[in-house]
């Protein structure tokens, strides 16, 4: 899927060089202080806030001509958001794109971490809607900054306490708060908590960009990322009774797909690349046939 031609009249990867330098400086600071939210001068991008303008600006700043880009949205490579962003960089930067997690040097993601373990040298860029983990508990920005500075994170446990008191367990299922490197409380963006353990000691570099909120933060390779919990209610991830209907995987994050209006439903891997790779290897789930069968639309 290599791009054949790039758009004329645009700088490499859309952003001008001064803006990229500014963003790279913010990224360097973010890497130096894991989990700390670095403010940056977010630019208007040719797509609306909420579509991943923060992630796109990071990607535009770190991408080089010999990078291979993969873009996923909810785990899938073929949804509107992923296709649009992939095409955007194919046209403005002329880089190679791929759907294979293994082949990508740069992965921009929304809401998921790929199932296949990432390796050294890869960069994972997250799109972040709201970077501040304490936001819904403390509306004042001045106060949340002070709380970060003084490491006053007890209030986050108040939220988890409230979850247990109401639901009998920690019901937060996505955007589950983590403590990075034993210091900064961080929002991992709206990934399911299923993916939280993958962030811990990941060999790849993780960058987080929030375009509207104008913040960048990062988790350098091999950094401790601990999900908050109580001693008697330890952190645990979602489990499913079913396996993936197409590839039979039992270890991946499953999406529930409604099949008809009679209540039939199927569970499929949310990571389309992982699912296809498994089916190519000959794994077949209860509803799967052979590779190449059209998948249920999400």
């Amino acid at each position: 899927m290599s791009a054949t031609e790039t758009l004329e009249g645009y700088n490499f990867a859309y952003l001008d060089e001064q803006t990229k330098r500014m963003i790279r400086r913010a990224i360097l600071k973010a890497v130096a202080v894991p989990g700390y939210q670095v403010p940056f001068g977010s630019r208007e991008m040719p797509l609306p806030y909420g579509w991943g303008t923060g992630g796109i600006q990071i990607t535009a700043s770190v991408i080089s001509a010999d990078d291979t880009l993969k873009v996923i949205d909810q785990g899938a490579d073929d949804t509107t958001n992923a296709v649009s962003i992939r095409r955007f960089f194919a046209r403005t930067a002329g880089v190679d794109t791929t759907e294979k997690t293994e082949d990508a040097s740069l992965i921009q993601t929304r809401h998921r971490i790929p199932e296949r373990a990432l390796k050294e040298g890869q960069i994972l860029v997250y799109q972040v809607p709201i970077p501040e983990p304490l936001r819904w508990l403390e509306p004042r920005e001045t106060e949340t900054r002070k709380m970060h500075a003084l490491e006053e994170y007890g209030i986050m446990h108040v939220k988890l306490y409230e979850d247990i008191a109401r639901f009998g367990r920690i019901a937060t299922a996505y955007d589950y708060p983590v403590l990075v490197n034993g210091r900064y409380l961080m929002r991992p963006s709206p990934i399911p908590k299923f993916d939280n353990p993958k962030m811990d000691n990941m060999p790849a570099l993780q960058l987080f960009g929030a375009g509207r909120e104008k913040r960048i933060y990062a988790v350098p390779p091999y950094t401790d990322v601990k999900s908050l919990d109580f001693d008697d209610h330890p952190f645990e991830v979602q489990k499913w009774d079913d396996c993936c209907a197409l590839c039979g995987a039992e270890d991946s994050y499953l999406d529930e797909v409604v099949m008809d209006d009679k209540g039939r439903r199927m569970f499929v891997c949310s990571d389309t690349d992982y699912c296809e790779e498994r089916r190519a290897q000959g794994h077949v789930g209860p509803l799967g046939t052979s590779p190449g069968t059209p998948q249920a639309a999400e």
Partner: protein, 259 residues
């Protein structure tokens, strides 16, 4: 902490709002286990003074020296901000006039009481909940309501919840700003009874700001009368109320309706 050091020593504290005087030249010592009442008409600088003492407002002049557990007497405005904030949520309590200012209304009563525990590192849900239950009992709130939101509580219950929330870390000093304001008389009486019991049982020191002389008489060992930002008279509560020396105190005492 020794017997011959005051818990809180206030020296010439004053706060100006531009040209206007908030309060000025206030000095007193508060000893462990002692309850000090501050009375005066509205606008006399009571709350300004309380805010200065409880480190919510930086005074323009003077020192507030607190006898910390670890390091002995220290000026609270010379501490680092993190030390001061830690002090405020462990060794101190602050009961506000309006319970809605002091409570977290979006979370349940149990979480409100447990918040300070979690802030100082408690990470065992069962223990936190047990402690919250104990405190709800101590302030006479039905433990069956532990998971209810404070907004479903009556005014008196909210005020008692606020007290429980403050006392859960066993503070040594509690600041109260009109703790019975806005409550009806019978609820006031119950709350005062409860407060008096807690203060004696736990050996708390307290600074209570009130405009209600009856509250002051019930709770306070010592009384300070303020007018126009100045302290006009201070002494033992009974002495001040029964034999007022200053003209303003005499006016204040005589203005109480005798039923």
């Amino acid at each position: 902490m020794s017997q011959d050091t005051p818990l809180l020593s206030v020296q010439n504290v004053g706060k100006d709002y531009g040209e206007t005087i908030g309060c000025t030249d206030v000095s007193f010592d508060l000893w462990p286990g002692e309850v000090l009442g501050i009375v005066g008409e509205s606008g006399s600088g009571k709350t300004t003074l309380l805010n200065c003492l409880s480190a919510q407002l930086e005074p323009s002049r003077g020192k507030v020296i607190y006898d910390t557990r670890a390091e002995g007497p220290r000026n609270i405005f010379e501490m680092t901000e993190s030390e001061r904030r830690l002090l405020m949520r462990t060794d101190w309590g602050l009961v506000r006039q309006n319970p809605r200012d002091g409570l977290r209304l979006g979370v349940s009563a149990g979480a409100n009481v447990g918040e300070r525990l979690m802030a100082v590192g408690a990470r065992h849900y069962g223990d936190i909940r047990q402690e919250a239950c104990d405190w709800l009992e101590k302030v006479e709130i039905d433990t069956g309501r532990i998971d209810h939101l404070p907004s479903t509580f009556s005014g008196g219950m909210q005020q008692r919840l606020q007290i429980a929330r403050n006392l859960v870390t066993n503070p040594r000093l509690v600041f109260m700003d009109e703790p019975t304001g806005g409550l009806d008389v019978s609820v006031q009486a119950r709350l005062l009874d409860l407060l008096r019991g807690l203060v004696t049982r736990l050996g708390l020191s307290a600074v209570v700001v009130t405009h209600d002389l009856a509250v002051a008489r019930l709770l306070a060992h010592r009384l300070m009368v303020m007018k126009g930002g100045h302290v006009v008279e201070q002494g033992l509560t009974d002495q001040v109320l029964d034999d007022p020396q200053h003209a303003y105190t005499q006016l204040l005492v005589s203005s109480i309706l005798q039923p």
